[in-house]
């Protein structure tokens, strides 16, 4: 079976700026995939090329096996995009917009599914309100709804949770997770890395138009960080000799000790107790995607120097 999204050797230039350089990426059917990277990394540019909103200078893109240029209709039927910019048509109400959007995809009768999306995205109260009368977060929900009217097998969300309140963020992700369980392929970009970490099974990190990391979320965290650690403030402020091999850092008066498995915590505590050292403060640090992100950005900066 062909991958949900297949990006081959894509380059995109804006004048002298190289927004994307030789991007190769395969996203498989059923994946929950995160496209991460700092502002200006090229995430939206890549999504636009997949969506046919921009043309690559070279390379090719297929969506569910359909080339996005030569078989644009098939490719677009398989794709639902939530754009990053908050755009809307001020002439219509939420329900009208969703009906029209269904029509664009050739669906005549879609009231049931539209009602369901409206409910799942908590837009019921606003279903017959004009788009102009909606708050920013509500407009964003309508954008999500619009991307789903035709139940596309591949759904790409470009920062869907920017400006959306906590409650809706949770209901939105529940909904998207359910779609993923039902077999839809999901690609998202977000600057909330904990979102990406809990949701996504695979991550691509983009910087300056290049993919600098591409792996499963677990592997990235395992490879790119120094593992779990324990941070301690001690009285007296001296680390016993037998623990000094574990020390990886000392900052703000806290010792940071590496722990490879949790049994080590007991060893550290008993060592401190027997040395009459008091613990004033203690944190268990688990590495997350944010550490990966920070480390990757640091590495790539050092390399480019």
């Amino acid at each position: 079976m062909s991958p949900a999204i297949e990006v081959k050797q894509v380059c995109k230039r804006y004048g002298s700026l190289s927004a994307l350089t030789n991007i190769d990426l395969e996203i498989h059917s059923g994946e929950f995939f995160a496209l991460l990277g700092p502002n200006g990394a090229g995430k939206t540019t890549l999504i636009s090329i997949i969506a046919g909103l921009s043309f690559a200078n070279s390379g090719s893109v297929n969506v569910m096996g359909h080339n996005v240029i030569t078989h644009y209709q098939q490719a677009r039927l398989n794709l639902g995009i939530v754009p990053q910019e908050l755009v809307f048509d001020p002439f219509f109400t939420v329900r009208e917009i969703l009906r029209i959007q269904s029509g664009y995809y050739g669906i005549k009768e879609n009231a049931r599914w539209i009602d369901e999306i409206i409910e799942r995205l908590d837009l019921t109260d606003k279903a017959d309100a004009n788009m102009r009368a909606l708050s920013g977060g509500m407009k964003r929900r309508v954008l999500v709804a619009q991307a789903l009217v035709h139940k596309p097998p591949v759904i790409i969300l470009d920062e869907p949770t920017a400006g959306v309140d906590v409650e809706l963020r949770q209901t939105l992700w529940e909904f998207i997770q359910q779609l993923n369980r039902d077999g839809h392929t999901i690609v998202l970009t977000t600057h909330y890395l904990e979102e990406a970490e809990t949701l996504c099974n695979r991550v691509a990190m983009l910087k300056d138009g290049k993919i600098i990391a591409l792996d499963s979320t677990q592997n990235l965290i395992g490879k790119m960080t120094s593992g779990n650690s324990l941070r301690l403030r001690l009285l007296p402020d001296v680390l016993p000799l037998s623990l000094q091999v574990l020390q990886i850092n000392r900052s703000n008066g806290l010792y940071e000790l590496r722990i490879d498995d949790y049994a080590q915590v007991e060893f550290i505590l008993s060592t401190l107790r027997s040395g009459q050292t008091q613990i004033l403060e203690m944190h268990l640090q688990q590495p997350d995607l944010e550490d990966v992100f920070v480390n990757l950005m640091k590495n790539s900066r050092n390399k480019s120097k």
Binding site: Y14, F55, V87, Y104, G106, Q146
Partner: protein, 251 residues
């Protein structure tokens, strides 16, 4: 087909919802033209024998309203969607380029004809306007508004800002309209100007449309019909190509 019908429906709804600005306002300004010319020129000018100037003027003004509103409809729809960004919903959709083109053009034709019909119906209350060949007049109305609808689409795609669109309108559409013989018969012009007028595609729209009313025209209505049909085919092909190329719409 559903996609095309939906876009057409949306485009029709778009101007219908603000009918006061898109239908009533242009009707009123056209009728004002008529009122002014009626007072100033009625007694002095006679273009065709036995046809009062005001009566001569009415088909020209109706056609002018038809084509101007057709242009306004497609151009303003496109540029508004472009500037507000909601054009992405059309660009993301699987609508074919041809479907997009025809939906915009038909909406432009509908608005043009609606305004024209409105003006005509008001004038027949006050004047005795003959309409000898209504179907021929309608055909000219459709062809003319189709051409201008396509021009509006091109202008809307090309313009990045509203003032560029206004420039297109003021430097291309308006002169071509005024020099097309809305207010006079080209036969009353010096020979040189007559030749130049014949290079203006708008001339054939007005002249042929007027033939539908009086059965009299400067040149054969069938020649005009042929020229307009060719114009429409050429400009439509060009516009569909433009849409396919993504010019100014897709980066």
């Amino acid at each position: 087909m559903t996609g095309f019908v939906t876009l057409l429906y949306k485009e029709l709804l778009r101007f219908w919802k603000v009918g006061f600005q898109t239908i009533l306002a242009p009707m009123i300004s056209t009728l004002l033209y008529l009122l002014i010319f009626f007072h100033v020129l009625e007694a002095h000018v006679e273009v065709y024998p036995d046809v009062a100037y005001t009566i001569f003027l009415i088909p020209g003004l109706v056609m002018m309203a038809v084509i101007q509103n057709a242009f306004a409809n497609s151009s303003s729809s496109i540029i508004q969607s472009k500037i507000s960004g909601n054009i992405v919903f059309i660009l993301l959709s699987p609508l074919s380029y041809r479907a997009i083109f025809f939906a915009y053009i038909l909406a432009a034709i509908a608005r043009g004809l609606l305004v024209g019909l409105g003006v005509y119906l008001v004038t027949v209350i006050f004047f005795d306007v003959p309409l000898q060949l209504p179907l021929l007049a309608l055909l000219f109305g459709i062809l003319g508004s189709g051409i201008l609808g396509a021009m509006g689409l091109i202008a809307g795609i090309w313009a990045d800002k509203f003032d560029q669109l206004a420039a297109f309108q003021n430097f291309i559409i308006l002169p071509l309209t005024f020099l097309s013989g809305v207010f006079y018969s080209v036969h009353s012009l010096p020979a040189g100007w007559q030749v130049i007028s014949h290079l203006n595609p708008f001339f054939y729209m007005i002249d042929g449309f007027r033939y539908g009313f009086f059965g009299v025209s400067d040149i054969s209505p069938y020649v005009s019909l042929g020229i307009m049909a060719i114009c429409l085919i050429v400009i439509s092909t060009f516009t569909i190509r433009l849409l396919r190329s993504g010019y100014k719409l897709r980066h």
